[in-house]
Symmetry: C2
Subunit: 391 residues, 2 copies
């Protein structure tokens, strides 16, 4: 066969729903030579990574480490470990990723009940209480930061509510961690999963998870084995714990990356990081509104790190995103599921949450909108963002 | 919390069962900035990677690509996609990794029959024929290169035999691919999995798999959904195929790595690569025997890339390996399962299969053996290797 040429990566600014650009220090960390997965030096790196991950998740849960696969495997890990065939589970469904929770829980043989809201809206505690009372499930799953709609679901009081009904709370924090507050212990979350390629500014490839002692006890009382050997927390914790029992060959370079990514997060400080995401979001939002765009998520519940806006009537989705990518080197996301062809998703995550991203994407988007025939006052997006930063 | 310091990777030569050292070009490839998982430039990289992977596997199977997790997830992928509850499967069991196949197949709800040989020995076709006749299974699983024993199981005729009985052949090629011949089409293999961190000289993190049209047809006739959503080939092939349907966020940097690793394999040429592994093995083996060490694998069936030898009586396993690691920076593997504390496993895989590895490990091992009280003629290992290279 004729072999492909040298790897030649075009210049991009990744402002979609993720992957977001990796921090340069993270890329440099990955270029280090490998270590064995049982080398004392690597075991120390694992310990450091798990400790920083606990800090990022704001938890003391011993069972906290990255799964050796991407974010969706984090979802599967939480559900396959907690659920057994016939178990009742409620999924709060208001977007693409909650639909996936339904799919994965169903494949565990669970009896799934969904409560639904229109895409872009969030659930009230009272609605969830009613469902818990009615179903009395073993677990309830909810997405904190719904990547398909840009909605920010409040979950501060949800763990307490679930525990009233002896129900475990499972949270999708794939787009939340490293961008907005995620307080596992204070909010009484029982199982949570995230990813490496968004708020943590690493490449995709790892899925941080954390399980509360309550969840761990549930796992230890299982009647059947976890259907996935690869994602079995009982086996994995013997590798991450003192036993250091070989399970699989850990993804060494990705662990280097995550260690560096978490270190950068904690050097900045969580509060500072959340404030930075909010500040840049406020500017971007002012700019997007000035360009005539409307958010899909309910007012007051819009994610700083994922700005989902409706595509204006008459503007072609694919052509506009192609122009953004090919002429400006900027990637933004298209819509998923119900929102396909109707929504753009603009991410300002981790390293990419900065004013240069905001101004660059607003300037580029203005050009693309105008060439698609939309009526936009020249410079209005950038001007509105500038004003917002000055406030 | 107090944050850990700068990442500081000690100098190592990884001559264990894997990870083996990544090729420097692979590490450099990973330092490239990210692309989106649906970026046309990334889709092209996926196509190139899949095409080279087909060449490495010597197959035309359309369903050939890396799973976004480590090698053990490749095993799980093959088994969860092919097996349904109640299906009969035979596992040829003669080492640690075939035991894992039993465990994973059992978690699929399959009815598992094992045929066994003492660790280090290989199966005869007649023994397998007898089992196929007796059980009439849906699939038969076998390990081509058993990493725990260093045994090289011949499988050239096995696909044909299985197909006589309408049985699918599943092969573990985790330690085989890129080191010894793996000819998926010629040998009529139906499902095969490997890893990135051994013969392909990439970091751990991906599991190349390939499914024959016969296996694909079996999957399409399933009565139940694949229990793992993350490893469901029917969904994954819609991302790797023309549909480009979003499934999970691909591990971008690891794909860069695998593309580069495969390119290096094919630049060298498969035949040349296999010959190189054999040549360096012959020299290492001469040296190890001169040092008084004995192979665990049956004569005539020893893997070039993984040399498993019995630890001499009176020599302490942990102390010797620690000295090798700490004083010489060389990692070799300890024993697994039945061989724990009794066996060392010395890998010469991919980039590390070279004369410098052979001489370095023989010289270092001699020092360690002597300081452990073993009687070794000074320089005997290195001298024997030199002689073998001159032949």
């Amino acid at each position: 066969m004729s072999l492909p040429g040298q790897l030649n990566i075009p210049n991009r600014l990744l402002l979609g729903p993720g992957p977001s650009d990796a921090h340069p220090r993270v890329l440099a960390a990955m270029a280090n030579p490998l270590l064995g997965h049982l080398d004392p030096a690597y075991l120390e790196i694992m310990n450091e990574t798990a400790a920083m991950l606990r800090e990022a998740f704001q938890t003391k849960n011993p069972l906290t480490f990255p799964i050796s696969a991407t974010g969706m495997a984090g979802m599967e890990t939480c559900l396959v470990n907690l659920l057994e065939a016939g178990d009742k589970v409620i999924i709060c469904q208001a977007g693409f990723f909650s639909l996936r929770m339904v799919e994965v829980a169903t494949r565990c043989g669970a009896e799934v009940t969904t409560i639904t809201k229109p895409w872009g809206q969030v659930f009230e505690l009272s609605e969830i209480r009613e469902a818990l009372q009615r179903i009395r499930p073993k677990a309830l799953g909810i997405v904190q930061a719904e990547t398909s709609t840009g909605s920010w679901q409040p979950i501060e009081e949800l763990g307490k509510l679930c525990h009233e009904f002896d129900c475990l709370l499972v949270v999708d924090a794939v787009t939340a961690l490293g961008c907005i507050p995620v307080k596992v212990d204070e909010w009484e979350i029982d199982a949570i999963y995230s990813c490496s390629q968004k708020g943590l500014s690493c490449p995709p490839g790892l899925a941080p998870v954390s399980f509360s002692p309550r969840a761990e006890a549930t796992i230890s009382k299982r009647k059947t084995k976890v259907q996935s050997w690869y994602l079995d927390m009982t086996l994995l914790k013997q590798y991450w714990g003192a036993e250091r029992a070989y399970h699989h060959t850990a993804p060494i370079s990705m662990t280097y990356a995550l260690r560096e990514g978490l270190k950068i997060v904690l050097e900045e400080g969580l509060e500072n990081r959340w404030a930075r995401h909010l500040k840049n979001h406020t500017a971007l939002k002012a700019g997007l509104i000035a360009l005539g765009l409307h958010y899909t998520a309910q007012d007051g519940h819009q994610l700083p790190q994922l700005n989902a806006v409706r595509i204006p009537d008459g503007v072609d989705d694919m052509a506009t995103r192609k122009k953004l990518l090919m002429e400006f080197g900027i990637e933004v996301g298209g819509g998923l599921g119900d929102f396909k062809g109707k929504v753009w998703r603009i991410g300002l995550m981790g390293y990419n949450s900065k004013s240069s991203s905001v101004f660059t994407v607003l300037a580029a988007l203005e050009q693309c909108l105008r060439s698609a025939g939309a009526k936009v006052t020249p410079g209005s997006g950038v001007a509105a963002a500038e004003l917002a930063y000055q406030r």
